[in-house]
């Protein structure tokens, strides 16, 4: 994939990940409040999944890029 397209795709993916936070918090039946191993699903997503996946994607794309 050309690097410019990879950057654009990564930005889109990051914004979709971020949009998942309000979706999880505001969805009917409040799935974000469900506890998983003691932690609520909203916090697993907002403080673990989004940060790790977003940083991982950014590292991969920036490491590949030459410009």
């Amino acid at each position: 994939m050309p690097i410019a397209r990879a950057r654009r795709t990564a930005i889109l993916l990051l914004l979709v990940l971020l949009a998942g936070v309000p979706a999880l918090a505001l969805a009917p039946a409040v799935p974000g409040a469900v506890r998983l191993a003691g932690l609520s699903l909203l916090w697993w997503y907002a403080a673990v999944v989004v940060p790790v996946v977003a940083a991982g994607v950014a590292v991969l794309v920036l490491a590949r890029a030459r410009a």
Partner: protein
């Protein structure tokens, strides 16, 4: 620009300290702000590097925005000065004496990346130390706290042992009977809401006198007043229980406008403050540093809520970061607090240079901005509010520059008009938020959520593609 250096204007104490405080107090926005504080600058870093466009009006607005961001950082240092018994202005002067030369220094500019790496590494190491002393990782501490039936003063809390000074004027409503012992002469105000209309009482009390509060009473303690609470009682202003802290969603429908405002403002402000990074070897260091910094702030907030909820009393953003070490590790924690203070000072120095570059300020301009920021921090002590205004203003000022450069002189003029309109709307909403915060709501707190897209949208109309899109939208609406 390298990915680490590009983050200098973002990873400042003004962002990290209030973030940790919001997690500690179980603020409804905390779960939204955490990922936004990380994703927003990543989006900016992933843009292809480009030369910034300059415009006198927008650069001036960006300079004012940078003054607000400087003020937010100075306000955090001023709060820290209060913690160690000094006056606010001492902290303001100390912060200005660090920021002014750091923003002018060629050495700081050349070494901004290692400075920021040291700061984030220090914060990460301090968080690991707290985790080891606490004896559990943050997610276990979160789960334990989430089952607590009440958030009470720990028996060794400085608020119940010798009393503490309020960093700023604070009002809280007590949910159970509470006795407050006054340790410094001041005027204290109590609003009793069990009558209609509510009864307002004001007393000038001296050391040793007490205030007996009933459930529902709202007490206002002036900045600098020293008071002591009774051990084992609920922490005023803190969530009433661990369950409430963990599920701090509040009124979910009412939260949407504020949370949307925060997300939009953070993303657009990051695009204005964080330049696109060069790729290649070592470029992954920036995102990793961002991850460490934001997760450290989150973990720190969780440990404060679990071990020292009383540190959030008075909503000083510096207290959770600087005083947690003392609470969890006693005197040995002094070194931890000093380490965190040093890390924040390094981040502030690296941020000074990056903020100056973000507004393309000459040396004299930077000195003026630092002076204005110091005065603003004396007038408005709320670092989060100053940060929200600064981020919103810089997002609005730079919004037209997110589009392709205008090709004609007429288009450039329309660009300027679009930017000026956005700034006008920002100022109007911001002033409405100041004058009538309840009525203005989220638009007053996050004016950029309307102003920045408006400026970018009007600027788009100056481009052929924008006009085509506008005609298509108009046609679709008509028929």
């Amino acid at each position: 620009m390298t990915s680490v250096r590009a983050l200098g204007a973002w990873l400042t104490p003004a962002l990290l300290a209030p973030l940790a405080l919001r997690v500690a107090t179980g603020h409804p926005e905390a779960a939204w702000l955490l990922p936004a504080a990380l994703v927003a600058p990543l989006v900016a870093l992933l843009r292809p590097p480009a030369r910034a466009r300059r415009d006198a009006l927008m650069d001036t607005a960006a300079g004012v925005a940078v003054a607000l961001l400087v003020a937010a950082n100075v306000a955090v240092v001023a709060d820290a000065a209060r913690l160690v018994g000094a006056a606010r202005w001492h902290g303001v002067v100390a912060a200005a004496l660090l920021l002014a030369p750091a923003g002018l220094s060629a050495l700081v500019r050349a070494r901004a990346a290692p400075l920021l790496a040291l700061a984030v590494g220090g914060l990460g190491a301090a968080t690991l130390t707290v985790a080891v002393v606490h004896g559990a990782p943050p997610w276990t501490a979160w789960a334990e706290l989430a089952t607590r039936s009440a958030v009470r003063f720990p028996s060794g809390s400085p608020w119940v042992v010798g009393g503490q000074r309020m960093a700023r004027t604070t009002t809280f409503t007590v949910v159970e009977g509470q006795r407050v012992t006054v340790l410094s002469e001041n005027v204290y105000r109590v609003v009793e809401s069990d009558t209609v209309p509510a009864t307002v009482r004001e007393w000038r009390l001296g050391p040793g006198e007490t205030l007996a509060l009933r459930p529902g009473d709202a007490l206002t303690i002036p900045a600098g007043a020293r008071v002591r609470f009774d051990a084992g009682r609920r922490v005023p202003g803190a969530p009433v229980s661990g369950v409430v802290w963990a599920d701090a969603s509040g009124d979910r429908a009412a939260l949407v406008p504020a949370a949307t405002g925060a997300l939009v403002t953070l993303v657009l402000a990051a695009l204005a403050l964080v330049p696109g990074a060069r790729g290649g070897r070592g470029a992954g260091a920036g995102p990793v540093m961002l991850l460490v910094a934001v997760l450290s702030a989150a973990a720190w907030g969780i440990y404060v809520a679990a071990d020292a909820p009383d540190l959030t009393l008075g909503e000083s953003p510096a207290a959770p970061l600087l005083a947690l070490g003392m609470v969890v590790a006693g005197r040995a924690g002094l070194a931890l607090g000093a380490g965190v203070a040093l890390a924040l000072a390094l981040a502030l120095a690296a941020g000074a240079r990056a903020l100056r570059d973000a507004a393309a300020l000459p040396a004299a301009g930077w000195l003026a901005v630092t002076a204005v920021g110091a005065v603003l921090a004396l007038v408005e002590p709320d670092a989060w509010r100053l940060l929200a205004w600064g981020l919103g203003l810089v997002a609005t000022a730079r919004a037209p520059a997110l589009l392709a450069p205008p090709r004609t002189a007429a288009a450039a003029t329309l660009d300027r008009l679009a930017g000026a309109t956005g700034l006008g709307v920002f100022a109007a909403l911001g002033l409405a938020g100041l004058a009538a915060p309840e009525a203005a709501g989220a638009l007053g707190a996050w004016p950029a959520v309307v102003a920045a897209p408006l400026a970018a949208g009007l600027a788009a109309l100056a481009r052929p593609a924008g006009r085509v899109a506008a005609r298509a939208v108009g046609k679709a609406l008509r028929g």
